[in-house]
């Protein structure tokens, strides 16, 4: 009886695992290994290839376009992060108050842009940030009563600012939700104790609220970084597939796409992919480190 049961269990276990294992092996393990080999080749499409050894990586290090892409991506990631986080946290603080009327509606509204896919946001953004006819410039010109504001060339000259502005619209509400959840964990008795000690709102924020939100903040920072380092759809569609003047709007994944799927060099694209992976893995390791530290100090 026991024996039959345990074979049953094993049969079920493997039956349940098989689809995952197969798909995982095909679409995760194999491509991962293959990407290492591809990076050592120059290709023209998947069928024409030439072994070039480590040349791709050597070229990559000397490739100023690649460094421009890295610079742009970092500017976007850090820029959007440092504006996003305080805003998201501030909103969460305000919306956390139970006495505030309509807080669930506000929450819903601020969160909603997150639902719109980046490809769709990009199409809308391209129209909204257009010179003269776009929503943004028209609103600015109307508010300031200054027709010169209609001429701001967001999509060419200020593409990075445009991307950051769009990212604020998209992600502030999203990150706010994390902070709202974190604020639930703030220890009420600590707050009361602080109040009894005569702490003002600012010192309560500094000594009680921020320390208890910090783990979530770390998580949000790293999550946003990992996401924004892989930025692709927004600039790709906004700039019609190229990097804009002086490649001002070129991101790392755009550069990967251009090389692999427009020029057909999957090898160089894989090299770019590895460089990006290195950055992301580094970030992930930092995250694991910080979580450990957090747990240890608890």
């Amino acid at each position: 009886m026991m024996n039959r049961l345990s074979t049953n269990k094993t049969v079920f276990a493997w039956a349940a695992l098989t689809p995952f294992i197969l798909l995982f092996a095909f679409f995760m393990v194999y491509p991962l290994i293959q990407s290492a080999f591809l990076a050592l080749n120059q290709t023209y499409g998947p069928d024409t290839r030439l072994f070039v050894g480590t040349k791709n990586f050597e070229l990559l290090i000397e490739d100023p376009v690649f460094w421009t892409a890295i610079k742009n991506t970092l500017i976007y990631s850090l820029g959007s992060l440092f504006i996003q986080l305080p805003l998201a946290f501030g909103l969460a603080l305000v919306l956390n108050s139970r006495r505030l009327k309509g807080r669930s509606i506000y929450r819903l509204i601020f969160f909603s842009p997150q639902l719109m896919g980046l490809a769709f946001v990009a199409v809308l953004g391209a129209l909204a940030f257009e010179k003269r006819a776009g929503l943004v410039n028209r609103t600015l010109a109307w508010m300031m009563q200054d027709a010169a504001l209609l001429e701001i060339d967001w999509l060419q000259e200020y593409i990075m600012s445009t991307l950051i502005l769009i990212s604020l619209w998209l992600y502030v509400g999203f990150n706010m939700i994390y902070f709202l959840a974190a604020l639930q964990n703030v220890n009420n008795s600590l707050l009361e104790a602080a109040e009894i000690d005569g702490a003002g709102p600012l010192s309560k924020l500094r000594h009680v609220i921020i320390p208890s939100v910090r783990p979530v903040a770390t998580f949000v920072v790293l999550l946003s970084m990992i996401g924004s380092l892989q930025l692709f759809e927004l600039p790709y569609i906004l700039l019609n597939g190229n990097g804009g003047p002086n490649n001002k709007g070129l991101t790392i994944v755009m550069y990967l796409y251009q090389n692999g799927f427009e020029l057909g060099d999957l090898g160089y694209a894989s090299a770019v992919g590895w460089a990006l992976a290195l950055m992301l893995i580094l970030l992930a390791l930092i995250q694991i480190r910080m979580v450990r530290k957090e747990e240890a100090s608890r």
Binding site: Q42, Y44, G45, P46, D47, T48, L50, V52, L59, E62, D63, P64, V65, E130, K131, R132, A133, L150, Q156, N240, G241, N242, P245, N246, N247, F261, E262, L263, G264, D265, Y268
Partner: protein
């Protein structure tokens, strides 16, 4: 338990657990079922028809009746032709991914000049389009086509598509404004004379802080116009072997002159959007007097800027130096036949029919003002028709007269990137001028030289990555 009761048991268990699922699960599972069913009924077998991709709504409108007529005329094993309209980028992406991925694409594909380079990126024998050179020569078409019009579609003397157009460029100007100011712009044989003649019109009578009429609609961000002007002045970004020749003295002097039109506190050129409604309004308002006008631009204005009808005239471009070239070229399209086609014979015949038929050429000119690259068609009376939009000038003949003079263009896969680098160079020099209180022509030229050196280096670096094309750079 016998098997059937076990089955029933399992089914009831499954149903039981479904009861516990939430609304969201139900909605998504229902969507899955419905959309799956709809797609099952629509499952498309690959079409047997010949596929043709075009990116211009006008082309589709022109070809459709012609193709129908072709089908009526021929009998037997000819397949019907499906004509699809896609965006330029979509055609490029799909054709490229088809070629790279070994997938079938269309049988006839129109490719825009800006994107053709990508198809010439790999080894020459791996180019996805049929080499049409021998066919063209065998059927005597090669000599009939305006020679410079073949250049963008040819690599090492082999031609991969039928040219659709010539796209010579003239200067279009607001003749109503110049004439009422008493200026005869046709005297402007050089750019220097042109700006000299129009300077009196740059006064600011409405005192809005800007001149009432800028001489030329041209700005440093418009890479197509920069390329056009550079080509007119004899710039070559690549030599015949495909080696980049961006950093030359000719190019530097040309670019410096072009930049000087836009730089400084009182620029001669102005930034008017070429294709937006806002730009069209500026054209009606006369913000600029003159425009760099390829033949196809005429139809865009006719469609979107009726307000300037009967006010414009065209004339050959002013030259950079006395006696220099009076025209240039901008844009272009070819019709290619992918190697994956199952019906090369019919594709070829259709291509030749569409691109050489006098009816289509006539239609092309009437509908979108584009002149045919086939020289034997140039004496067609349609080109001599006076055009009321341009004060009844016979602009067709004027464009044709310039057609043989258009510059030769490189088909280098890096040409588009090189043009972008030139534009970036110009932008960087402009940026430099903004930080200077004053500068001399020589200083400007020096800046341009160093920028072109940078651009040349960038392109060489890109090319050195490509082990396939076999071009050794320095």
């Amino acid at each position: 338990m016998d098997p059937s009761s076990r089955m029933r048991h399992a089914c009831s268990l499954a149903l039981l657990s479904l009861k516990h699922l939430s609304l969201g699960v139900w909605i998504i599972v229902t969507l899955f079922a419905i959309s799956g069913l709809i797609l099952l009924t629509k499952s498309d077998r690959p079409s047997e028809n010949l596929q043709m991709w075009v990116f211009s709504p006008e082309h589709r409108a022109m070809y459709a009746p012609m193709i129908e007529e072709l089908q009526d005329r021929t009998e037997g094993d000819e397949k019907p032709i499906d004509l699809s309209l896609l965006s330029r980028e979509a055609i490029k992406n799909r054709t490229m991914s088809g070629f790279l991925g070994g997938l079938p694409t269309a049988d006839l594909i129109e490719i825009e000049r800006a994107y053709i380079g990508q198809f010439f990126q790999g080894p020459q024998e791996a180019i996805g389009f049929h080499d049409l050179t021998d066919r063209l020569k065998a059927e005597g078409l090669y000599d009939q086509i305006n020679a410079p019009s073949l250049s963008p579609w040819s690599v090492n003397g082999r031609t991969y598509g039928l040219p659709h157009d010539v796209h010579p460029v003239m200067l279009a100007y607001r003749a109503d404004l110049t004439e009422s100011a008493g200026i005869d712009l046709t005297q402007a044989t050089t750019w220097d004379k042109f700006f000299e003649l129009l300077k009196p019109m740059m006064t600011d009578k409405d005192s809005d802080g800007r001149p009432d009429h800028y001489p030329l609609s041209m700005w440093i961000t418009q890479q197509d116009n920069i390329e056009l002007l550079m080509l007119q002045g004899g710039a070559q970004l690549f030599d015949t072997q495909g080696i980049p020749t961006i950093n030359t003295e000719t190019n530097a002097q040309l670019l410096a002159e072009i930049i000087s039109w836009c730089a400084g506190p009182n620029p001669l050129g102005t930034d008017i959007d070429e294709f937006t409604a806002a730009g069209h309004k500026s054209r009606v308002d006369g913000d600029a007097i003159a425009y760099l006008c390829p033949d196809w631009m005429c139809s865009i204005w006719k469609m979107h800027v009726p307000g300037i009808a009967g006010k414009m005239k065209v004339m050959p471009l002013p030259a950079f130096t006395e006696g220099g070239r009076r025209t240039s070229v901008r844009g272009g399209t070819m019709l290619g036949i992918p190697k994956t086609t199952q019906a090369f014979g019919q594709s070829w015949e259709t291509a030749v029919e569409l691109y050489t038929a006098p009816e289509i050429a006539r239609e092309l000119y009437r509908m979108v003002d584009i002149i045919s690259p086939i020289r034997s068609l140039w004496d067609d009376p349609v080109y001599a028709e006076p055009d009321p939009f341009f004060m009844n000038q016979q602009k067709g003949l004027m464009f044709i007269e310039l057609a043989p003079d258009i510059p030769i263009r490189s088909s280098s896969p890096y040409n588009y990137n090189a043009v972008l680098e030139i534009r970036d160079s110009a932008l960087n020099v402009m940026e430099w001028t903004k930080n200077q209180s004053d500068w001399t022509d020589d200083q400007l030229l020096e800046q341009v030289r160093s920028q072109l050196e940078r651009a040349q280096g960038a392109i060489e670096r890109q090319m050195s990555r490509n082990a396939f094309t076999g071009v050794e750079s320095k």
